[in-house]
Subunit: 352 residues, 2 copies
DNA sequence: CAATTTCATCGTAGCGCTATGATGAATGAA
DNA sequence: TTCATTCATCATAGCGCTACGATGAAATTG
């Protein structure tokens, strides 16, 4: 086994700087069991005898052993990591979902590897590629709109994939979310039911944010179907911020001075509209009814309080976690429900 | 080398289900080079000849090879992962920092492993423990307040550690942030300079959020030092939300009916105060001057616009990334500046 | 032209762990 | 008692990659 002349390198000349890390082997030695038993204890504590378990626990404690999940992941051909890719973590919607999801996964010993694509499809593909490099237990993406290459990569990897915050198309694997056109339709329906006929939808960055665009077109369709003589969509090229809301209101009033109902693609925009109305003395809801989307923090408290549509970002997070955990525990239950509709709720407040 | 009788297991009986994963070996074979060369090409493309590089690139493309970073991390004894632990990702401050940090790290091929501690010290220790299990390239924590055990773990690991969003104590390794008492003092100073004397500081969850508590005490000290006859701190036990702001204002008016200056530990609370004032017809800034903290999205747009203190969450993210990258590239430049003060800026608007 | 240095490339030994099946003792059934 | 079954524990072979030093050819020097 040793020897080997000729071109074979002599083994004495080489030596990797042996890390002085505490390994499972050290624990095993101290506890006087084999490494396998330590490994077993760590993964399934009930499978080893109580006596051995105690010895091992004591040894771990004494040595301050920290398991190396990288090695474990390599050996097990799958790491306990779930890779989540969202357009932007600054967005309160996704922050909520990620937060919930993270808690649910952490409870089962899964870590979260986070990426944000900033709404770029090419960016996303690169992120998916690195995500897969970690042999993740699952990959979570936002929306159903991905490049063919991304879909191919993910399908080939055989890793569980959940697409969230959108349903209505063909998912790569599983999907949790709601229908954005329906949200738009609900908003329009609500304004129509309040007797409003001159409607405007205000959105931002809708060329990139496909889901906002879907809400807009759902709104327009329902508005026209409901007999609204005016039903415009106005887009702001920048991000969906409060400031954008003010700008959008002004543009809207120019284009349609008689408007009496406004839906926004986002509560932040609605808040901007609300402030601009305060500034200009436009009465809400008397002169203009206002409905947002997101049910953010401030929506109950603002003056007047904001009618909005709640997408339940936390529920989405919870359901995504449930699907992932189910798939990990039962990899072959492929017949399980793969698409979950978390629906949306319209919350009527004072602004309509 | 083979054979081996007695208790030695025969090798034919065992066979790990060889994954049909495309490995570096496959790429090497197709490109007719050794695996070492492929590895070298992937890490330092300039170190291989252009001809070989092209062959390898073509082979990678043909096979759809995705490198296994888990294996790489194990071999290199350090993964290209930076572990970030924040109290809450829902908090806009941290979302901003994490977002910036993530972009900066991604540009250098580093991934982000995210954890949130929900302001629990025990929670944090568990998170640090799992974080270290990934042999991360660096660990980023929030604040300087950590359990002794956490500090010990991190120091023993010899992993670069950055504590962010707070300076003024002894960091474990490096720190990027600003002084919270100074922020409180600035707020008090500003209100005093506007002739306000009956001051109140409104905060939430200050038993857990030590940094908010520091802002409060900095405020109280400066207020008293500046001769304010009234200078109270009022705490809300729940989260720092817009709704909490309204509740806090009402409590404040009960405790100190004559108050004429309010500082809030957070712009969200300030926004709640602002709305409650609108509701109750309290004129800002005439009757009460209001200053927040955070310079969130809405602060420019609200009515009246909000005087606030900007902590520069994105700058913190950038500086943290810089420190980490410097340390990774030059692990022994231990003499480098370890504490960076990103300072704060008071932005005067209409509310004071 | 020999001696030295550079350069691209290569072969191999781990990195620390888990999966697999083996082993032998203890237990139950026949 | 004898054989089958359960149970806790173990030995070993990789998982896919990178670091290390080796190798031989080409370029440079004396």
């Amino acid at each position: 086994m040793d020897s080997g002349g000729g071109t074979i390198q002599t083994r004495a000349t080489r030596k990797r700087r042996k890390m002085q890390r505490v390994t499972m082997m050290d624990v095993a030695k101290l506890a006087q069991v084999s490494p396998s038993t330590v490994s077993l204890y760590l993964r399934k504590p009930d499978a080893v005898s109580p006596a051995a378990g105690q010895d091992i626990a004591r040894a771990i404690d004494t040595l301050g052993y920290v398991p190396n999940l990288v090695a474990g992941g390599l050996a097990a051909a799958s790491s306990r990591v779930v890779s989540i890719i969202v357009p932007s973590i600054r967005n309160a919607f996704f922050a909520e979902t990620v937060s919930t999801l993270q808690s649910a996964l952490a409870a089962e010993g899964l870590q979260v590897l986070l990426g944000h694509s900033e709404y770029g499809e090419g960016q996303e593909e690169a992120l998916v590629r690195t995500a897969l490099s970690w042999a993740p237990a699952a990959v979570v993406l936002t929306g159903l709109n991905h490049s063919p290459e991304t879909r191919k990569l993910l399908k080939a990897s055989r890793v569980p994939v959940v697409e969230m915050w959108e349903i209505g198309g063909e998912p790569i694997d599983m999907a949790v979310g709601f229908s954005h056109p329906q949200v738009g339709a609900s908003a329009a329906g609500h304004l129509l039911s309040k007797g409003r006929r001159n409607l405007v939808f205000l959105g931002a960055r809708m060329d990139e944010d496909r889901r906002a665009a879907q809400r807009a077109s759902g709104f327009a369709e329902a508005g026209k179907g409901g007999g609204a003589p005016i039903c415009e969509i106005i887009n702001h090229p920048g991000a969906a911020t409060v400031e954008a809301g003010a700008l959008l209101l002004n543009r809207a009033l120019q284009q349609a001075p008689d408007l009496d109902g406004i839906a926004c693609s986002n509560d932040l925009i609605a808040l901007g509209v609300l402030f601009e109305c305060q500034r200009r003395g436009i009465a809400i809801p008397e002169r203009v009814a206002l409905i947002g989307f997101g049910d953010l923090d401030f929506s109950t408290s603002c003056v007047p309080s904001l009618t909005t549509i709640r997408p339940s970002g936390d529920l989405i997070g919870k359901e995504v976690a449930r699907l992932i955990l189910a798939r990990i525990q039962e990899p072959h239950a492929e017949d399980a429900r793969r698409v979950i509709d978390t629906s949306h709720v319209l919350i009527e407040r004072r602004s309509t």
